[in-house]
Amino acid sequence: MRHAMKVAAVMSVAALTLAACGDSGNDSSPSGSGSSDSGKKSDLKVGMAYDVGGRGDQSFNDAAAAGLDKAKKELGVETKEAAAVNGENEAAREERLQQLVDAGYTHIVAVGFAYAASVGKAAKDNPDVNFAIVDDASDDSKGANVDQITFAENEGSFLVGAAAALKSKAGHIGFVGGVNVPLIKKFEAGYIAGAKAVNPNIKIDSQYLTQPPDFSGFGDPAKGKTAAEGMYQKGADIVYHAAGGSGGGVFTAAKAAGDGKWAIGVDSDQALTAPADVRDKILTSMVKKVDVAVYDFIKSAADGKELTGPNEYNLAKGGVDYSKTGGHIDDIASKLDDYKQQIIDKKITVPTTP
């Protein structure tokens, strides 16, 4: 039995480690009451399956939640939410979608590319239900009743890259990626292209916090801080992060580095959402409007026109953009808008791989 006690000790250490890795951000428990009488009533029932982290991750999932909240308020749809568990298998994702279908939800939004195969399968099994998937446009999730939502992150990153190059006094900027996956490389590619368009000789440091399948790079501010500190110390004066929750560490590092050092936010307008003490260090943010895409999906359904097929939300569609909160880039806004117009007019093609 000493044997067993020893194992129990080891197990509890392992459990603690695992608990530290996975963030179970389900503190705000989903509420499913659609009985608010405000606004027009719609009989749509919208289920949302989040990626790991769920509502409250201050990033990607929250952006999707914002779209859902807007739909609930303006269209009066009934909603239900469920989040993924760290390290779960394919069957668990399928089951989550199927549970929502079983509970009578007619429109289901899956947040994150991990759901690709399960959305494809659920859509085939339930032809009467409409699905949307964020960040995937592969054959896995394809279906006559699937809205495949993707974003031109490279185009938005191009603009903040240009902003960084225009604002950098040192001619040296940085990029911190959360996890080394193709999606984040798209951010890096656009950022580099934008910076080089302004200043071909600019020096750009790039660093990824973790390698897949270790996805902790999206939720570890300490790692983000270390990486950004290194860049500021080596002389970079502006660092752009595409690292989800790790970005908080990048902002802390920017503040510690002092005057003249800036950070660039991602996904939402972080000069509004980051902790108050670091907001003034955020030059601009590359806004990825997951909320707009989610709302679009629900709104179209409410109007009787189901959105299906691949839908890329690019600059032209207003799916990505840069933010001006704080007024730090007002002086260069006209130049940035000029680049924006050139991308929309297809005079500039932004690469998707660095």
């Binding site: 197990m11 989040a83 568990v85 298998n89 089951e95 549970q99 995937d136 996805f215």
Partner: protein, 372 residues
Amino acid sequence: MNRLNPRRILLGLSAPVLALIVAFVITSIILVLFGDPVREVWSTILKAPKPRQTVQIINAATVYYLSAIAVAVGFRMNLFNIGVDGQYRVAVFAAAVFAGQAWLPGFLNIIVAIIVAMVAGGFWASIAAYLKVKRGVSEVISTIMLNAIATGVVSWLLLKVADRKEGSNAIATKTIPESSQLEGLKLIPGATNRVYTLIVLAVVVGFLYWFVLGRTRFGFDLRATGRSESAAVASGVNVPRMVMTAMIASGALAGLIGMPLLFGQDHNYGTTFQSGLGFAGIAIALLGRNNAIGIAFASLLWAFLDIQSNALQITAGVAQEIVFIIQGVILFAVVIAYELIRRTDKRLEQQRVARELAAQRKAQPATEGAPA
């Protein structure tokens, strides 16, 4: 010692039952403290599963069973193979890459890929075994370290061999050819999904585990070494060799863990492949007391809780992570319960012996005292 002693059976059963009750009470208290709906949570978890969910429970249990058996082989010999987690990931990656190349046709591809997985898992475990035998490094430390290294090695190699699908953000190895994908068995009527074909693998492994450990000379040596190394040495067992063999066998079995998932569900290895199976295996082996049948029940219980918790967020509005608390409490309670019951059993045994001795002593003077 008579194994079919009714008292022993009763005591043996009371430990898991006690643990379940304790887990139920503690989890309920936690739910009440945090203001969550206790009744909804339990009615969701204890609801009869639909056919679809029954299939999922069987499938999840299959994978857990393989993992727990891999761990149990080490436990029987007093080896703590914490590295099953790393071993299965290295193995499933190797098998996925191999099977994805489609060098061999259909079924043959599966068989050889499974062998590749066993070799890869065994190899990864052999590092820890070598360090223990030659350098005296505790296998607990080395396997934990090797888990971290496995994560790094696999992700590094995965990026090299990744097959990027158009429009997808996932990273995965090449999908295995359709002829090597196993559709599954229609075991449960009314279910749209199917039971993994490789459940056969779990049954075979379970039988071999019982047979080899319980019915062969090798198994006896292995258990003897686990009980007392010095006694094993005295009876002529080559202990370093046993350590090597047991560890590699544990690793090779760990290699099988991902096979049902690979051939029956995911068809490639990528960032969305299930993780943490090795740690679940440790818990389940412990709960099942390293017994082939016990582990089967423990796996089913674990899988039942996992699958039933899926609906928690939707029906009860409670995060399904609550199930981790239930599982953790069950584990702790079971360890404590086993210890309590072992002591009770010992005390009862002592009392019985004492009673018998006293009875003998009382009887003795009469017989001895009789003069010739």
